[in-house]
């Protein structure tokens, strides 16, 4: 129904309109919607073209060192991490992504007579720690029909990391002199590698995932004594997505 209606009072009003636009703008809008833009399918979302979210988690070091001399304490030995995940949907069941994360890996060394890493000297408490920046590209295989949700998935990934800092820390009790304890931190020891890389996998449902990472690179550099055994390569734990 198209109507074009004129009569004199409105024409008079039209004359007023020449000076009225600002008043018109003062009308209070009680509701406004723009379906032309509101109804455009989104490109961003858990099962859309792109999705980003934060995540955090903990993985425990699993297994023993590759020889005697580096007994570890479990489950204190492990990695805490927090990161940003970027996921690009490829098909309904597949996606690719890139994780960028901050990870703090610590090996708690059990003090025993067999200890050789990094020295045979016993302490009250001792650890090797690495604060790392990691990048991890992954591919995702999702299971089951779903809407705009993360759903159930299996990720396979490769990762690389660079240690912002690495430390050898120990605590002696009683401490030197009159102190009850002495804390010593050896910064960036030459025997710890700063670069590391490996493979990973995740089995997830929604925001929760079981995480496994396998380190292909060695822990110790070529400057480390030959008697240093390789530390456990597996990290297994859980991850929680923040979304």
């Amino acid at each position: 129904m198209n109507r074009l209606i004129f009569n004199w009072p409105p024409l008079l009003a039209l004359l007023l309109l020449t000076v009225w636009p600002r008043l018109a703008a003062a009308q209070r809008v009680l509701l406004r919607a723009d379906p032309a833009t509101d109804t455009i399918p989104r490109r961003y979302g858990p099962n859309r073209a792109l999705y980003q979210h934060l995540y955090l988690g903990y993985t425990a070091v699993v297994g023993a060192a590759d020889g005697p001399g580096a007994p570890l304490r479990y489950p204190q030995s492990g990695e805490l991490f927090v990161g940003l995940r970027n996921k690009w949907r490829v098909t309904g069941a597949t996606a690719a992504g890139l994780d960028a994360r901050f990870a703090y890996l610590r090996y708690h060394l059990r003090q025993s007579s067999a200890k050789q890493v990094p020295t045979a000297q016993p302490h009250y408490r001792e650890s090797l720690s690495l604060t790392q920046l990691q990048l991890e590209p992954f591919v995702r295989l999702s299971f089951g029909r779903r809407g705009n949700v993360v759903g159930h998935y299996l990720d396979v990934s490769g990762w690389g990391s660079w240690a912002i800092s690495s430390n050898h820390s120990y605590e002696d009790r009683p401490g030197q002199g009159q102190g009850t304890r002495t804390l010593v931190r050896e910064v960036r020891p030459a025997y710890l590698r700063r670069w590391s890389w490996g493979l990973g996998t995740r089995l997830g449902a929604g925001r929760y995932a079981l995480v496994g990472r396998y380190r292909l690179a060695d822990t110790f550099s070529t400057q480390a004594p030959a008697i240093y055994p390789e530390l456990p390569r597996w990290l297994l734990g859980i991850e929680v997505g923040v979304f």
């Binding site: 004129f6 409105p10 009308q27 919607a33 032309a36 979302g45």
Partner: protein
């Protein structure tokens, strides 16, 4: 060498994980769900008089539908027996879709595909439906066994207004309170419905015709949650002072528990279908479903009325002559969804949005249309804040869950008035009864239905007087409200409100705030590209630059019952 060792370990892990996952899955869920559709119903017959309740037979006669058609015939028992022999369990047999839902392993499913008569075997996704309710505004105190808690004065006012604006007085005067109609309510549970004083009048006159829990397969529906109790109260609940909370206290009810609140069950969608078939057989005229699927399984662009089973089941229910009224959903303020859920997306489902009782405008949480494809949804609106019966008392709740039964009650009264209307004719009349009709937008649909549209009878439609004019200039078009329409009428109290002639007491207008102005821009295909509601504080109300009009499109305006369009020729 070391790398090869690592690689071996890694491949072992990859090979092991899915196996482990499968093994774990096999412990917790030995079989997946499948939907098995058959090719034919050859040789099957049905005695409608024996199978259908007399009310169902009467409904079909009234609507000139066949007493039964092939979709009512039973599934072939030989097909069924073969599937039963191969699967762990058959959880649903659907006559309407000539199909069964069953649990089976992948190997069993593969064997079912090879059975004679099997048309398709699809994996059946397992997700719950969510009630279209948001948060409660207040919690009742410890539920007393006897008398419910008293309501606040504000709540009492709302309790009366939620039906008054729909014309409760007019329907009551005409003796139309849903008598002779059966309304099926599908919900998560009806806890305390059978003991709550609000429903005592229903049990006194045995108006609960049948109940069934489609999850537990028992007639006991008074468990699982009280959302159904709240919804039912917006159809037929009664306050201690005898105020009815809904418009259909005179109807009969079929209560079906099809959903479980707060947990993942496997059977919700098929339970909805089973309940619809049950409601059909038991003579339901109206199905109220204050439930909806959203993003757990679907994308907004899939809200096309064809993708989900519940949407197809709802459409089939309408084909059987039942009016399906569904809540629009409460995702209007969720930017990732925003639109209606399913089955509210089906064309023939009357989708109801929520209105603010104070402003009579769209509530922010009420889901917006359009449905996929630019189709009009919601169809109508009613109060999305309401007083409902809850275990132990009454309380104010929010959600389109409650707008839906309010409109279902309206539909029951309207249908009682014109009992021979085919369901889609009623659907159209209900839309025409919207206070905005013929204007609509994707927030309000056609707005709040008015009883006056039904009480006017079938005489020639009276065109409303124009309330505004378009004034076109070179670069803009303005909307000027006519002086006679710019008067805010005073309201005089009638001597006796209950006896006031219906035509002279447009209840909605009496109870409503000053009328706003609705306007929209539509493109050449009729799709609304932009719409607004303006508070009217001056006669020169709107000025739209012509360049903002879509090519071939129109500017459409509604004010005080009058709708007109302007387009550039």
């Amino acid at each position: 060498m070391r790398f090869r060792k690592h690689l071996t370990l890694w491949l072992g892990l990859l090979a092991g994980l899915p196996a482990a996952a499968q093994s774990s899955a096999s412990i917790t869920a030995p079989a997946a769900r499948y939907w098995v559709t058959f090719r034919d119903k050859a040789g099957q017959m049905l005695q409608p008089a024996a199978y259908f309740d007399p009310a169902a037979q009467a409904r079909r006669r009234r609507q000139h539908l066949p007493a039964a058609d092939s979709t009512d015939f039973p599934v072939r028992p030989d097909y069924l027996a073969r599937v039963r022999a191969l699967t762990d369990s058959v959880t649903l047999v659907s006559r309407w879709f000539n199909a069964v839902a069953c649990r089976a392993t992948a190997a069993q499913a593969a064997r079912i595909r090879l059975l004679p008569g099997v048309s398709s075997v699809e994996v059946w996704p397992e997700r719950p439906m969510l009630p279209a309710v948001i948060h409660r505004l207040q919690r009742p105190a410890a539920p007393p066994a006897g008398s419910p808690d008293p309501l606040s004065p504000d709540d009492l006012v709302l309790a009366r207004r939620q039906t008054a604006v729909l014309g409760a007085a007019g329907f009551r005067q005409a003796g139309q309170q849903g008598q002779g109609l059966r309304i099926a309510v599908f919900d998560v549970g009806f806890r305390a419905t059978n003991t709550h004083p609000a429903f005592a009048h229903l049990y006194r006159r045995r108006a609960i015709a049948a109940t069934y829990d489609f999850l537990r397969r028992t007639p006991d529906v008074y468990r699982g949650g009280s959302h159904g109790t709240e919804v039912l109260s917006c159809l037929a609940g009664q306050l201690p002072d005898s105020t009815f909370l809904g418009l259909a206290p005179g109807a009969e009810f079929l209560l079906a528990r099809t959903e479980q609140q707060g947990s993942e069950l496997y059977a919700e969608e098929e339970a909805w279908l089973a309940a619809a078939e049950w409601a059909d057989r038991n003579g339901a005229d109206i199905i109220n479903s204050s439930l909806g699927y959203t993003d757990r399984r679907y994308f907004p662009e899939q809200m096309n009325g064809r993708t989900s089973l519940v949407a197809r089941a709802a459409a089939m229910a309408v084909r059987k002559g039942m009016l399906v009224v569904n809540a629009a959903g409460n995702d209007g303020d969720d930017p990732t969804w925003r639109t209606v859920g399913t089955p509210a997306d089906a064309d023939s489902v009357l989708t109801v949005g929520g209105l603010d009782p104070d402003t009579f405008l769209h509530l922010p949480f009420s889901s917006y249309g359009p449905a996929a494809g630019g189709r009009l949804k919601p169809n109508l609106s009613a109060f999305g804040v309401a007083i409902t019966a809850v275990p132990g008392g009454f309380e104010r709740v929010e959600g389109t869950s409650f707008a839906s039964p309010l409109v279902a009650g309206f539909a029951a009264c309207a249908w009682q008035q014109q009992r021979d209307l085919p369901v889609m004719a009623l659907f159209a009349r209900l839309q025409q009864a919207g206070q905005l009709y013929p204007y609509f937008d994707y927030a309000h649909g056609y707005g709040l239905p008015r009883v006056a549209a039904f009480s006017a009878g079938d005489g020639p439609a009276v065109l409303p007087n124009p309330t505004f004019d378009f004034v076109a200039a070179d670069s803009a078009v303005s909307v000027i409200i006519r002086p006679e329409a710019a008067v805010v009428p005073a309201y005089s109290l009638p001597l006796q409100a209950a006896t006031e002639p219906l035509a002279d007491t447009p209840t909605a207008e009496i109870a409503s705030p000053p009328a706003p102005l609705y306007w929209q821009l539509r493109d050449a295909s009729g799709f609304i590209t932009r719409y607004e509601v303006l508070e009217v504080s001056q006669r020169a109300i709107l000025r739209v630059p012509l360049q903002q009009l879509p090519a071939g499109g129109t500017l459409r305006v509604h004010f005080r019952g009058y709708t007109a369009s302007f387009s550039v020729l």
